[in-house]
Amino acid sequence: DAGITQSPRYKITETGRQVTLMCHQTWSHSYMFWYRQDLGHGLRLIYYSAAADITDKGEVPDGYVVSRSKTENFPLTLESATRSQTSVYFCASKGLPGDTQYFGPGTRLTVL
């Protein structure tokens, strides 16, 4: 089914573990984004990518790593999860600089 998907939809992990959140889009969009959404902060940009192998930091990149080896995938890795990384994570994509961003369904991550 076309669109933007995220997996897993829900994840519980422990402090110190590595976690990877997956994002996949079938539109061949050049631009992809990772946000986290927390009460009191709204949506904040973690990392973004303009094309395969091109990534850059957003507002809150510390503790996260991204890669973009293929245009359609943009995984987000928490190398050593902390409780402060408990959040809902949204992936988004867009085709051209002037386009709107379309969001995936989100991943709810809980770090115990």
Partner: protein
């Protein structure tokens, strides 16, 4: 520092009322302003505004941008219970030396419509 401020943070109305949601911004190299609706899931796109004074309309929803005063409003007329959601305002700004615009989000307005 860039920021997007929405008001009010929450609003409770009865069906049939008209509401106005506000969004003010201070973003470097403004490119566009977007409104999203979020109902306990992913934000869904409503409007993109790039020019001042031109109203965008979709059914009972409309929005307008004032680039001189740096704000936008989202109007919803004849509200229905299905309009209950968080409405997010986002502003796309361009970083210096970059061709990619970044979205800066406000905290949202929680709208509750009672039957």
């Amino acid at each position: 520092e860039d920021k997007v401020v929405q008001s009010p943070l929450s609003l409770v109305v009865h069906e049939g009322d008209t509401v106005t949601l506000n969004c003010s911004y201070e973003v470097t190299n403004f490119r566009s302003l977007l409104w999203y609706k979020q109902e306990k899931k992913a934000p869904t796109f409503l409007f993109m505004l790039t020019s001042s004074g031109i109203e965008k309309k979709s059914g009972r929803l409309s929005s307008i941008l004032d680039k001189k005063e740096l704000f936008s409003i989202l109007n919803i007329t004849a509200t229905q219970t299905g309009d209950s959601a968080v409405y997010l305002c986002a502003v796309e700004g361009m970083d210096r030396g970059s061709t990619l615009g970044r979205l800066y989000f406000g905290r949202g307005t929680q709208l509750t419509v009672w039957p």
